[in-house]
Symmetry: C2
DNA sequence: TATAAACCTTCCCATCATGGCAAGGTCAAG
DNA sequence: CTTGACCTTGCCATGATGGGAAGGTTTATA
């Protein structure tokens, strides 16, 4: 099948399929006489795997590892689990950072009357006249 | 003062100061006879404001609004608070998405023995043989 | 004063994953 | 044989940031 069908069947755009090929995430595909990329059902399967992993927020680098492990039928599941747990740790770190930001902004917003008067602790906090406002809440 | 001192005093790199100028977040600075950008203390103040807002995760677009409100001494604090709360809502949405991803990956990892055997529900989940594994957990 | 160090300028490139567009070749159906 | 759908490569753009090069300026020092 051509790239369009592979894209449709996998949920990965044709553009991204070419990109994955270019960057080595997937091997170069066979070509027809006229130069069209040709895909088999297993390729679509692989692409779907990649898309799912991306949907779960795995980085390209990690997906490369996962693909290798997926295709190695003898690897210990321990290795796969390690990558997954590592990913969880990264997500947790990202979450913690966002939570800290949200709390800081929420804190500032809570100090602001939000009425018709111009006085605003939010802007004061940002402008640095009261630096403690931020340093306490944001790492 | 030159751009280097403004950078040091504000915590914004010289590179980014030029970028902010180029993209209109800050006005074009005055120049010395030889073409060097010249900054006053108020400019450093503004840059610090920008850096703090960025540290809190505000987008450039929002920072532009906040700067405008900061410089308008008569604006109602209501407007500033609205932007801040909007930002909080966006952060909450981002957090929710990451949490959902983390939970999905955690769920998959929990199904995997993580031992020396090759069987691995994580890879099975990604490969799509058991699509329900993901569709349930990830929006 | 001459020279070197430190600083400034603009411009280009790279990131990461993705989309868009354009010019041109190919294929299948009418 | 024409038309339309599809494919190819290649370039540009995103957003915020850093790196580096080539070349001009300022300052400090020998």
């Amino acid at each position: 099948m051509n790239i369009g069908n592979a894209a449709e069947g996998s949920g990965v755009s044709a553009k991204m399929i070419r990109y994955y090929e270019e960057t080595g995430l997937i091997p170069q595909s066979r070509r027809s006489d006229s130069g069209y990329r040709k895909y088999a059902q297993t390729d679509v399967h692989t692409l779907r795997f990649i898309r799912r992993a991306r949907d779960l927020g795995f980085t390209t680098e990690r997906i490369k590892e996962l693909l290798g492990l997926w295709q190695d039928r003898t690897r210990p599941s321990r290795k796969v689990k390690a990558i997954a747990l590592n990913h969880v740790a990264e997500l947790d770190a990202d979450i913690a950072k966002l939570v800290s930001l949200r709390d800081a902004v929420t804190h500032l917003a809570g100090l602001c009357h939000g009425d018709e008067h111009p006085d605003c602790p939010i802007l004061d906090g940002l402008s640095g006249d009261t630096p403690a406002l931020l340093s306490r809440t944001v790492a």
